[in-house]
């Protein structure tokens, strides 16, 4: 016990000597202030993204929500990335979720059927220049998708919401044959992603589907699979 007290005293002495030495070295006589930065509280920002499927008969593949600060998942007139193509042709959003510039991501657990809705929760540790992008395939199409591209949510206050509707895009990576074996959704149960690109090879607004009752005899789609803009309603609420 005695030795511990001595040890404490000697620390004080050393500390005093050090601070005196510091004063002596300071020509301007400014008091030296050692500011210990407070350990920052871990800060997180949470968003609830509620997506309602407005279509008559197009289930939406698991919905990817991606937080990022720059870039876009797609651009009208530019070729689709392989990650986007993979999602738009087969509903597999794993590559989009793994994108390098994503600072956070989340996905709905499963597909969202016509008339149904789901809420996806996403948490980030930064709000600066924060954008949210959202992407999902209309599964009864060749390569049709819908979503939101780089919606700025950096100024959204806790409790505030943004409401948007989404439009139909065509990845341009697979011709819209509507043929048996080419559509992964329940209308067909055909192939999803295929690395071949046999279409215009740029992203555009989707022209819509024809169906077998409107003049495309080889189509596996029926009138309930037709859609028009908008495709989905999205409400983004910052909850924290």
């Amino acid at each position: 016990m005695a030795s511990l007290n001595n040890f404490k005293k000697s620390i004080v002495v050393v500390a005093l000597a050090a601070s005196l030495a510091a004063c002596g070295d300071n020509d301007s006589n400014d008091p030296v202030q050692v500011v210990t930065p407070p350990t920052p509280e871990p800060v997180s920002y949470t968003f609830d993204v509620t997506v309602s499927n407005l279509t008559a008969g197009q289930p939406l593949s698991p919905i990817a929500v991606i937080a990022h600060t720059e870039g876009t998942l797609w651009q009208i007139g530019s070729a689709a990335s392989v990650a986007l193509e993979t999602m738009a042709e087969g509903g597999d959003n794993s590559q989009l979720l793994a994108l390098e510039n994503a600072i956070a991501n989340a996905s709905s657990e499963g597909p969202v059927g016509p008339g149904a809705n789901t809420t996806i929760t996403l948490t980030t540790d930064s709000l600066e220049a924060l954008k949210l992008s959202l992407a999902t395939m209309m599964v009864n199409t060749n390569d049709g998708f819908t979503g939101l591209s780089a919606l700025d949510v950096s100024s959204l206050a806790v409790g505030d919401s943004l409401t948007r509707t989404t439009v139909a895009y065509d990845a341009g990576t697979e011709a819209n044959t509507e043929a048996a074996g080419t559509i992964p959704g329940p209308a067909d149960g055909g192939e999803g992603f295929n690395e071949a690109r046999d279409d215009v090879n740029f992203v555009a607004r989707h022209p819509g589907v024809v169906t077998n009752e409107d003049g495309l005899s080889s189509s596996v789609l029926s009138p309930e699979h037709k859609f028009d803009n908008p495709l989905a309603k999205v409400v983004i609420t910052r909850t924290q």
Partner: protein, 233 residues
């Protein structure tokens, strides 16, 4: 001397106010996957001298544009009306999902913006914007444009060379080189002879026969068909 300098300055200030109302940067994007736009015409005009008006009969100038892509008559009308214009900014066709940029300096009183271009391949379809009020506050604004039918020609969906003249039935060209031939022609009667929202093309799945020369999977669109971004300086 001082007074006259002041007067001159005042006059100049008033003159510049009355000659220039706004400086606009415009970007027009064709959002479709398979439809070309013929030369675009953008005008800034007063509340009267618009390029077209829905639910009214198309002017001959509008019909000439919508059936054949020729904007000369609309330009002559706009000049006569004292409108400001940007004609043919893409210097020809605006391909699917392509963009073109232009600038427009508007004169005082020309507070509205209108846009037209024919949609190919269609009989008399056009992309249009009618009398969008130009904001006075500087900033960037986005407007989406729909596809209209001029109501001046039956939509027979047959590609016929030389059919761009007003009153000559047929689609004058399919710039994507992906239309067919040998169609019998759609025979439904288009009874709405006023400018209206285009009902869309029908097409068919036989490029050498059938009723339509258009492909039902390629020559389609959903509205809107164009995006206009306006930066008011």
């Amino acid at each position: 001397m001082k007074a006259s300098t002041f007067t001159l300055a005042t006059l100049l200030a008033v003159a510049s106010q009355s000659t220039m109302a706004a400086e606009l940067d415009l970007t027009i994007t064709n959002l479709t996957q398979g439809i070309h736009f013929t030369p675009l015409l953008v005008t800034a005009h007063n509340s009267e001298d618009k390029l077209f008006e829905v639910a009214t009969e198309a002017s001959t100038a509008l019909q000439t544009m919508a059936e054949g892509g020729n904007i000369a008559e609309l330009m002559a009308q706009a000049t006569a009306a004292g409108s400001d214009m940007a004609a043919n900014p893409a210097e020809g066709l605006l391909a699917p999902s392509s963009s073109t940029m232009t600038t427009l300096i508007t004169t005082d009183g020309n507070d509205y913006l209108s846009v037209t271009a024919m949609l190919l391949p269609t009989n008399d379809g056009f992309v249009g914007l009618d009398s969008w009020k130009i904001p006075t506050e500087a900033g960037t604004y986005t407007v989406y444009l729909n596809a209209y039918d001029a109501g001046t020609e039956q939509n027979n969906e047959l590609v016929v060379e030389g059919s761009g003249a007003p009153g000559t039935p047929g689609i004058p060209a399919a710039p994507g080189d992906n239309a067919g031939t040998g169609g019998a022609g759609l025979t439904s009667t288009d009874s709405n002879i006023n400018v209206h929202i285009h009902p869309g093309t029908l097409g068919d799945d036989d490029l050498t026969a059938g009723n339509s020369d258009l492909s039902n999977t390629v020559h389609r669109w959903l509205n809107p068909v164009a995006k206009l971004t306006v930066t008011v300086k």
